[in-house]
Symmetry: C2
């Protein structure tokens, strides 16, 4: 078979696999949004079956054969050409897939679905004990996975590779240590005085109006609701079910406007990335994000750098006040901005301010590494968790629900996922700085309701690049510097130092 | 391989195929309820891919091999044993499947998804013309399908066999002719006088309250909302995504209470059937309904025989009046009952009264037979449709949207499906008569809010029987008579003759 024919067939198969995976993604979306409780066991069967079929296809030796026919040919001579990128990344995926035994893949899918429900139940009971055997099972499956796919230094490398290709444990540790060192004192320094009236956003914000306001904002930022939806789920997420079908799920809170709204902005950031991918490359690596960390950089950038800025609220605060007149009639823009930029370390990641946020990630990363290696027996997690919170954030969770049961990621088998949140913050700060240098006064445009400059820049520098480079390399090419904690720390100092002071203009 | 081992493997594969098909059903459910418009093309790809995978599995020669090892063994000596039933029906399905070329299956799935959207567009434009090429394509695919699977007398036999196994065109024609002959004069005779104030159900009925009332009724009838859901879709349906996940979709109308409510009862009837199937046999023929006609008998029974009865409303009318006080405060139970039992022939099947309903089915069945055979060119459908409506129902649709574009079934490739609606009515009348003979005063129980006697009878005589017998045979065994139009016609005469008169007691 000629290399160009082999390449076409490869792309056809890759696309087919993506279409099939998107069926599986719909099963997950539905599980989170609408599935009745009685559907759980069958859903686990469906997920396991689809995982097995996907695995059969992804590890089919014919795939390796086709790759071999293209590799080394003229078609991939330019390493940055779409063909070369697609072949390189398909090889990487194939090598991982073919090393995974099918039984392990199916079992992981089944356990993930059942454990996710066990986690919900344990969390409701506020007791880690009944969930512990599930987490042990998940850690054992993760070890089996690492051993099957192989790793350079530590099993955690193999876990990371699935979410943040090219990233290593030692590099993540260096980045997180850099953050940790500065953040512990910085959080203390920037903690907002009690005089800032946080309670004003805990007045009554009718949910139907939050929804309408949120959709209007999402639309203004560039999220296309003809090619997507916004639903409600217990845990917020964004998923791509097709190039024209990108779905966000959020959760509104009647008496906590900021919590629902910033989660929405976060998921909109993910959605803008996926709506910005090149549809011509749908199903192939050139039409996909290179890592979850880079994906997260987009959600965090829109949530924090854009959504907490003065410019943003110069545009939206008058509309907000109009929609929620009863709740906000006596609140000034300046007060509002101080409230949404409040720094107040607490026990909950999902409600954490931007400054203390990465310490929550440090804790999870350290603990999952310790559980994976076996240094921390799973049964000892609650104690270790609480101890870490005391040490890094100075708070003590009042029970397991507020402590080690607060996130569902581990229950879904996602080990090695948490650090991508911190990487996303690091990437976001560098990208935003660079966009500001290139485009000039971003907040001035936001104040006019114009987000197209920033979105266009991100489309060009990030979204449309697909998997041409690894996330770290893309950041370096876009900003001139490899990922490093400095710009994020500087950005936090600048913005949160400023937030405490009255606004000018 | 020993027969018992072969049988276990067969059941495992059948179950796996059902689980996979339920993934495909979720894609359809989502398409009808929540999918954004931009998701359409990818959805067509997803459906085609899943159809191909299902076909590969369903036509795998290994399946035929396993069947061969069980057939003739002691395991299936008793033809009514679950094993014998499963093997018989799996053989039937396998023989159909293996005769279908994969390309035809995939193409049919793709065309169905795209044509369904083309139909929505044509209907909005109220013009059949742009939809005609799609319907031609669908008829051509149906002919290919009939030729591939084979048939005894006419291609339409092959279409029927997919929805109503064991039924033939000549038998359907005889049943429909029997109905037609009597119904044309009966509709004229029973048409409700204009003095019955139908407009009272077109007052204001807030949708959120319809939804709550509907869910409460569904629950009282026995529909388990922990193992199912009720959503909103443009076109009502019921689908089973797993033994504990049975979903209804309906459509509420702010100013037409009866339309939304009876559609709900109809879908609840389907849902009760699926919730009553034996979960131990999930995925095998013994855990499935033998035909769509029998399925429809359950929806029509709950919608009409139960839901339009005086006993039912003795229970629910006081609650209804409470919920919709403004709309109903001046309406008596007797007036309400007359209104919901109004006979008024019109152009629309979905809004048809129970007496004229089957004439809508006769028209569709005759026209689809004529298009399939080629006697009626697809482009001539609108004229033929309108002519049939004049002849049988004395009405003329004002345009194609009100005429031949009113139903989406053909756009989804469902040729041979419509007669199952009339069969359902025929079966329902016979089953309800028998249940009444066995259980005594059903309406007395309904008036007390007790539907468990009837549901238990249906569970035992219908739901739990799975595919042990064909629908016609099940009806004969349960009622003592093969399917025949007499009981339905008698039931209509009895109930609608009575409906015009004031209620007693």
């Amino acid at each position: 078979m000629r290399p160009d024919h082999a390449y076409q067939e490869l792309i056809r198969l890759a696309r087919e696999e993506t279409v099939l995976a998107s069926c599986s993604d719909l099963l997950e979306w539905d599980e989170e949004t609408f599935m009745p409780r009685g559907g759980l066991e069958n859903r686990a069967e469906q997920m396991a079956l689809m995982a097995g079929i996907l695995h059969d296809r992804g590890s089919d030796p014919r795939f390796g054969d086709l790759l071999g026919r293209v590799e080394g040919s003229d078609l991939v001579a330019d390493p940055e050409s779409p063909a070369a990128v697609n072949v390189r990344e398909l090889r990487r995926e194939y090598e991982r897939e073919r090393r995974l035994p099918k039984a392990l893949v199916e079992e992981s899918a089944r356990v993930a679905t059942m454990a996710a429900q066990a986690w919900v139940d344990a969390r409701e009971a506020r007791d880690f004990t009944p969930f512990a055997p599930w987490l042990e099972r998940i850690m054992a499956l993760a070890r089996d996975e690492a051993d099957a796919v192989g790793f350079a230094e530590t099993r955690y490398d193999a876990m990371l590779e699935d979410y943040e290709p090219g990233m290593t444990t030692s590099r993540v540790t260096a980045l997180l240590d850099g953050l940790k060192r500065d953040l512990v004192p910085l959080v203390a320094e920037l903690t907002t005085p009690a005089s800032v009236p946080a309670h004003v956003l805990r007045r009554e914000f009718p949910i139907d109006r939050q929804k309408l306001f949120g959709e209007a904002v999402a639309s203004t930022l560039g999220f296309d609701l003809e090619r997507g939806r916004i639903d409600v789920a217990h845990h917020p997420f964004c998923t791509t079910l097709g190039p024209g079908d990108i779905r966000i799920a959020v959760r509104w809170h009647r008496r906590n406007f900021a919590l629902g709204f910033f989660v929405l902005l976060h998921e909109v950031g993910h959605g803008l990335y996926d709506q910005g991918l090149d549809p011509a490359h749908y199903g192939a690596p050139m039409g996909e994000a290179p890592s979850l960390g880079l994906h997260e950089s987009q959600s965090r950038l829109w949530e924090n750098m854009v959504g907490r800025s003065l410019g943003f609220w110069k545009q939206f605060f008058p509309r907000l006040k109009n929609v929620f007149h009863e709740a906000l009639h006596d609140i000034s823009l300046d007060t509002f901005r101080q409230v949404i930029n409040r720094v107040a370390p607490g026990a909950n990641r999902g409600r954490a301010d931007e400054v203390s946020y990465n310490l929550h990630i440090v804790i999870r990363t350290e603990l999952e590494q310790a559980m994976l290696s076996g240094d921390l027996p799973v049964r000892d997690l609650p104690g270790a968790w609480n101890e870490a919170y005391r040490r890094y954030l100075g708070v003590t969770p009042k029970d397991d629900a507020e402590g080690c049961l607060q996130d569902g990621h581990w229950s879904e088998g996602m080990i090695g996922y948490f650090p991508t949140y911190a990487l996303g913050n690091v990437y976001a700060a560098q990208l935003y700085d660079r966009a500001e240098k290139d485009l000039g006064d971003l907040e001035g445009a936001f104040a006019e309701g114009d987000f197209s400059g920033l979105l266009g820049w991100l489309r060009d520098r990030v979204h449309r690049r697909g998997q041409r480079w690894s996330a770290a390399e893309l950041v370096e090419r876009a900003t001139g510097s490899p990922p490093t904690p400095g710009p994020l720390l500087a950005s936090l100092r600048r913005r949160y130092g400023r937030a405490a002071a009255p606004a000018v203009g």
